[in-house]
């Protein structure tokens, strides 16, 4: 168990290191000389050399990387050329919470819809409920989220006027306003997940319900709903968490798309506008932060899994 944790930690650090090398090289490979960009069109050779030295760009690449990594770890991510904002604050305190809120809310919606759909499909398999659920699941998975987002904006935002079509209100500032603004984006992002969750729930539950311990629970006089929702679903949780974990990358990708469609000031929006403005250090910060986020979430999923499966827990 300890060894597994250490291996996992080692892997995590390695992944983070690779992400950092990638995002550092990105800055090096990006077209344009950062010194010229910062100095503007009119500069002397002396001021050019001075700034190059100040930025440490005259030093070997490996040393530059070391400095850069140290600064990153310290939270010194530089300042935006355009808004003059501290990039660390922009990314970690402003953009990240938006993305996390959107992702969490979408996941919640997906679970609340996906799990019961999957359970119904399994219990009434091959009936019309199953066919409908499976169709919806595949449909939700195949439908591009940006397209769904635009349709939702068009129908419920513009057409019916029930929901706002853009902007973000933090739910911790004003809960109902926040939910109201998040509804369409979360449905857009969650729809993609619903199908996946429903499908995994269905197939896992079908397998679990064929196990002797389910028959044994019935033989103890347990009522049907408890057999399914307690004895069955408790065992479905593990494969479900695994799949949710495997799809985290897709979730983050989807979040970027959704933020752009709904103009939510999250990480995806931050990176997109940085790309349009060619603000390389913001892009770089975005890549790093997304990488860290992905790795941390994965680690959390892993821990959850260990916690959920008693067979992986303590051994006597």
């Amino acid at each position: 168990m300890w060894q597994a944790t250490f291996t996992k930690l080692g892997q995590t650090l390695l992944v983070l290191l690779l992400v950092s090398v990638a995002s550092f090289s990105f800055l090096k490979l990006a077209p344009g000389d950062p010194v010229t960009i910062m100095l503007g069109s009119d500069y002397s050779k002396a001021s050019y050399d001075q700034l190059t030295q100040e930025l440490g760009l005259d030093q070997p690449v490996i040393v530059q990387y070391g400095h850069w990594l140290a600064n990153f770890v310290r939270g010194d991510w530089g300042t935006s050329y355009i808004t003059n904002q501290n990039i660390f604050e922009l990314a970690v305190f402003q953009a990240l919470p938006v993305t996390l809120t959107l992702a969490a809310f979408s996941l919640l919606i997906a679970l609340v819809i996906g799990i019961p759909t999957g359970v119904m499909a399994a219990l009434y398999r091959n009936s019309w409920v199953d066919v409908l659920a499976t169709t919806l699941a595949i449909g939700g998975n195949a439908f591009p989220s940006f397209y769904l987002g635009i349709i939702l904006i068009w129908v419920f935002g513009v057409g019916l006027g029930w929901f706002p079509t853009l902007g973000f209100v933090a739910p911790w500032d004003d809960f109902w306003q926040g939910m109201w603004h998040l509804a369409l984006p979360a449905i857009t992002l969650g729809a993609w997940y619903v199908g996946l969750i429903a499908r995994i729930t269905r197939s896992s539950l079908l397998e679990v319900m064929g196990q002797p311990y389910i028959l044994a629970a019935k033989a103890r006089g347990e009522p049907g709903w408890r057999v399914v929702w307690v004895h069955g679903m408790r065992n479905v949780l593990m494969p479900l968490i695994t799949v949710i974990g495997l799809q985290l990358g897709g979730m983050l990708r989807g979040a970027v798309m959704t933020e752009v469609v709904f103009s939510l000031p999250g990480l995806g929006m931050m990176i997109t506008s940085a790309v349009l403005n060619r603000e390389y250090i913001v892009i770089q910060a975005g890549i790093m932060l997304t990488g860290v986020l992905f790795v941390v979430l994965n680690l959390m999923v892993d821990q959850t899994y260990q916690f959920l499966d008693p067979r992986l827990r303590r051994r006597k």
């Binding site: 033989a219 103890r220 067979r311």
Partner: protein
């Protein structure tokens, strides 16, 4: 509701004086037109033990599942009657049947490792029937679970209460299963090959334990077994099943020592000759369910078979204190 409370409490049996606990009469069970159980007739008195013997596919587990109500109409087609303490089980509403399961009728599975939920502690699983049927509080459940674990020979039950199934050995897991099945002092215990998944060295121990507990609780029990000799040693009576029918049924020592049905004779000879329950001395195998012969189902393999055996089913007759279904009882 009235019927429910009658079942849940220990109200004396409503039928006649010599009253059997269980009366199975002409009970047939069909799965998609295949007759898996064919006119089974059995009775069991309180405190009596019955061994259900037969080779693989004879329908022993199916009968056990039907008795505990986990195989019922409309999932399968059912005919005939199952009376338990005078109550007709086939007509019982599902909610009422549920009050019998794990309460008045207990079931021990063959493979305890597979029959215990890996995600719940054994204490929780023992507590379930206590809570559901006896309505014990959480703390009373724990106390009773410890007692039960003690009664099935689990050392340091208080420590094992919060163990997960995988933390216990196969033998311990089967003891837990036994504790669960006996938690509410059932009047009928069904044990479907309770030791065949275990190490040979502890099979006898576990069998002994079940018998001990059954006697202590004065319960009746049906043991599903492969081995005729073991069955005769353990049970008061033996019912030999072949292809969904009971071919011979009677007191253990008679059935073992002087079998009347050719199939029982075949079973006995392989026990004696090999000292283990292999069925090689009887040539052939049980015919597939969709190709059952019209007459005696054993006829194609029977050394004594004549023309009539293939054409007409032999009626069950009483002979020498037992029930036998054969045209040529010598």
């Amino acid at each position: 509701m009235n019927q429910v409370s009658v079942l849940a409490q220990n109200i004396p049996v409503e039928s006649h004086a010599e009253a059997s606990l269980l009366e199975v009469r002409d009970f047939s069970l069909r799965r998609k037109k295949a007759t898996v159980l064919d006119r089974i007739t059995l009775s069991l008195s309180p405190g009596e033990t019955l061994g259900l013997i037969g080779e693989s596919g004879a329908g022993k587990s199916t009968l056990a599942m039907a008795l505990i109500g986990l195989l019922r109409a409309p999932e399968v087609e059912i005919e005939g009657s199952l009376r338990f303490r005078g109550t007709e089980l086939t007509a019982l509403k599902e909610a009422d049947f549920r009050r019998l399961r794990g309460n008045k009728i207990g079931l021990i599975f063959q493979d305890a490792t597979a029959a215990l939920n890996p995600c719940f502690t054994v204490g929780k699983q023992i507590a379930e029937p206590l809570r559901r049927h006896l309505g014990l509080s959480a703390s009373a459940c724990r106390a009773r679970a410890v007692e039960l674990m003690q009664s099935v020979g689990i050392p340091e039950p208080r420590l094992r209460l919060d163990a997960y199934p995988h933390e216990l050995s196969g033998g311990m897991q089967q003891r837990i299963m036994i504790a669960i099945a006996l938690a509410c002092n059932p009047e009928l215990l069904l044990a479907d090959e309770p030791t065949s998944a275990l190490d040979v060295t502890i099979q006898a121990q576990i069998m002994e334990l079940i018998l001990d507990r059954v006697r202590a609780l004065n319960s009746s029990a049906i043991f599903v077994l492969h081995d005729l000799a073991l069955g005769a040693q353990v049970c008061d009576r033996i019912a030999v099943m072949y292809a969904g029918q009971i071919v011979e049924e009677g007191p253990s020592e008679r059935v073992l020592n002087a079998p009347l049905h050719p199939y029982t004779q075949g079973l006995k000879s392989c026990v004696v000759e090999l000292g283990m329950p292999t069925l090689t001395p009887i040539p052939g195998q049980i015919p597939p369910l969709d190709a059952m012969p019209n007459g005696c189902r054993f006829a194609p393999r029977c050394p004594k078979a004549q023309a009539i055996c293939g054409e007409q089913r032999p009626e069950t007759q009483t002979r020498d204190g037992r029930q036998v279904a054969c045209w040529f009882i010598d």
